[in-house]
């Protein structure tokens, strides 16, 4: 305290590391349990609740079962999440360009029209949305989920992207306009190359949101062939006889795709979230 120059020396950091690691351990404890139980059957789980079993005793069969059960659901979720994310970003980029480029007549009113939607509780819409999809013959289809995902992400993405595009120097656009570039060309050649990281961050957030969605799929989907991962997990939770090892393996399998993607994109992820892009 009285020697400021060495205030940030590792020996002082030691306690901070300890505290952080303790909190992190608590935070990650559920996933430790998930992993270690996923290799056990009920019997060995009851006998040995806390510690992992020996690798020689690992029950890979749990994973085999979980894969068989969940792969179709994961594949559906993949289609829905990727399509919805692409849709969201493409339309939001167009919309954000509209708002950011010029103050067109009416754009102020339209902007407020977008912003107020942030306050609208999603739940209030479920019922009429359901009726709407019914009249559009979209109940029990994945297309409904894709469209809903794309529509749901608009407000947030346009909000973030507008701020971003507005910060691009105006002369870049003007120079392009001189060269006779259309707006679409400007968007494609100027905005898109510059907004790689922000698009990446938004893509990840949208993807996560769609991947985690379970209420609309639960309401809209009837046929097991169409189930997304969320519905699949809820059905798994409804079984009467619980084989915990199997269930935990299924949970792990459900987490794998995103964890793999995360491993490759974590820098983008962390920076994107830290940069305050989501400040709203």
């Amino acid at each position: 305290m009285n020697t400021p120059a060495i205030a940030k020396k590792p020996n002082k950091d030691f306690w901070k590391h300890g505290a952080i690691l303790a909190l992190l351990a608590l935070e990650l404890f559920p996933f430790y349990m998930m992993l270690q139980i996923s290799f056990k059957d009920n019997k060995s789980f009851v006998q040995n609740t806390w510690l992992p079993s020996l690798p020689t005793e690992w029950l890979w069969k749990n994973y085999w079962d979980a894969m068989q059960l969940l792969l179709p659901y994961i594949s559906n979720s993949m289609v829905v999440s990727v399509s919805a994310t692409l849709g969201t970003l493409f339309f939001a980029l167009l919309g954000a360009y509209f708002f950011a480029r010029y103050k067109m007549p009416l754009s102020g009113a339209l902007w407020s029209g977008y912003l107020i939607l942030m306050l609208l509780p999603g739940v209030a819409n479920i019922v009429p949305l359901f009726a709407l999809l019914k009249s559009m013959n979209l109940l029990n289809t994945l297309l409904a989920l894709i469209i809903l995902g794309a529509a749901g992400g608009q407000v947030f993405c346009i909000y973030v992207l507008r701020n971003f595009i507005e910060e691009i120097p105006k002369d870049l656009f003007e120079a392009a306009e001189m060269d006779g570039a259309s707006h679409f060309n400007q968007l494609w050649n100027i905005v898109v190359p510059m907004s790689g990281p922000i698009l990446g961050t938004l893509a990840i957030l949208q993807f996560l949101g769609n991947w985690n969605e379970f209420l609309m799929p639960l309401i809209l989907l009837r046929d097991p062939q169409l189930f997304t991962i969320g519905v699949g997990l809820i059905y798994l939770d409804g079984e009467y006889v619980k084989d915990w090892g199997n269930i935990m393996a299924a949970f792990t399998v459900a987490s794998i795709p995103l964890v793999v993607i995360f491993l490759f994109t974590m820098r983008l992820f962390v920076q994107g979230l830290s940069s305050g892009a989501v400040k709203g």
């Binding site: 305290m1 009285n2 400021p4 205030a7 940030k8 590792p10 950091d13 590391h17 505290a19 952080i20 992190l24 935070e27 404890f29 559920p30 996933f31 349990m33 009851v46 609740t49 339309f91 167009l94 919309g95 509209f98 708002f99 480029r101 010029y102 103050k103 067109m104 339209l110 939607l117 306050l119 609208l120 999603g122 739940v123 209030a124 819409n125 479920i126 019922v127 949305l129 359901f130 009726a131 709407l132 529509a151 749901g152 707006h183 968007l187 991962i229 915990w244 935990m248 459900a254 987490s255 995103l258 995360f262 974590m266 992820f269 962390v270 830290s274 305050g276 989501v278 400040k279 709203g280």
Partner: protein, 316 residues
């Protein structure tokens, strides 16, 4: 800011409107239409099918006599207050990470923090549900092991809680009406939200090292530093998180639905406004009334946001 544009030029640039059309169609169809339809149907007795019957304000009148709905606001109020307190660990975590000298560690800790975010929310939810399991759950093991259970049993006997905690009886976290709200509060311990922590760290990063050095010179301790230097800088972030959290909590009901079922668990103790709306619509088939409930919820959220903007505004 977007560039101002003369009316003449705007006319020439009419094609720019086409850029907004797809997005606008999506919004109008899937956000505005349902919202307006909800307002319209809130004046009807409607079972979701063809037949509907105009009944004026009856649905709204019914809301004021709906004990379950009013009670659910109390529950959600408790949860919001709890969620406010649950921000504290995130702030502590952010400050700890920020004060580390090694940027490398700072980065890796942040990675580890984000990791739970990519695990599907439902998986986390079901693992926690498993923790609450009276026979096998980690929570009851912990209570027994730490002796907290014995303490609670004594408290129960002393205050006469009516035998929620008894020796030899596993604590039924999600099975006792009185324990449901506490369970929802314990939920997610140690309550570290990755988004919150990262945003706080981002806020803290604007503090230059010279400020810390000056504080050290003034003999300000670690807690003093937090109060005088760090807290004022992240107050904007806290405000944003609080607003988002309040709106999110008010709307949320998925967790209650999956954990406790459509009736909010034993005694309906876990009933929240969103779940009640869902229940009325998809269990009772009273879609018109559910729409009225949804609108009521919207008004509450709108009001809260308004109050928030008016009184909690913090200048950047």
């Amino acid at each position: 800011m977007s560039a101002p544009i003369s009316p003449k030029k705007a006319l020439a640039e009419w094609k720019l409107y086409l850029f907004l059309v797809p997005s606008l169609i999506l919004i109008l169809l899937f956000s505005y239409y349902p919202a307006i339809s909800a307002i319209y149907h809130s004046f009807f007795r409607w079972n979701g099918g063809e037949s509907k019957e105009f009944i004026g304000f009856q649905n709204y009148a019914q809301i004021f006599n709906d004990k379950i709905f009013l009670q659910s606001f109390l529950t959600i109020g408790i949860l919001i207050v709890a969620n406010l307190l649950k921000l504290i660990p995130s702030i502590i975590m952010a400050v700890f990470i920020h004060r580390l000298s090694s940027t490398k560690f700072q980065y890796w800790y942040r990675v580890l923090l984000v990791l739970p975010m990519v695990v599907p929310g439902l998986v986390t939810l079901f693992i926690w549900k498993f923790f609450f399991n009276p026979n096998l759950g980690a929570l009851n093991y912990f209570m027994e092991f730490s002796g907290l259970k014995t303490l609670l049993v004594h408290l129960d006997q002393f205050f006469g809680w009516g035998g929620i905690f008894l020796n030899d009886f596993p604590i039924s976290w999600l099975g006792e009406p009185q324990l449901i709200v506490p369970s929802l509060i314990i939920w997610g311990f140690p309550w570290i939200g990755a988004v919150g922590v990262l945003m706080f760290i981002a806020g803290l990063q604007s503090i230059g090292t010279e400020i810390y050095e000056a504080a050290d010179l003034d003999g300000i301790g670690p807690i003093g530093k937090f109060i005088y230097i760090e807290f004022p800088l992240i107050i904007t972030q806290i405000r944003v998180i609080v607003v988002l959290m309040m709106i999110g909590t008010l709307q949320s009901f998925g967790m209650q639905f999956l954990l406790l079922g459509e009736n909010g668990g034993p005694g309906g103790a876990g009933m929240v406004p969103g779940l009640w709306m869902f229940n009325r619509a998809f269990i009772a088939g009273e879609f018109g009334y559910a729409c009225a409930l949804g609108l009521c919820l919207f008004v509450v959220i709108l009001g809260l946001t308004f109050i928030n903007n008016k009184f909690l505004r913090v200048e950047k």
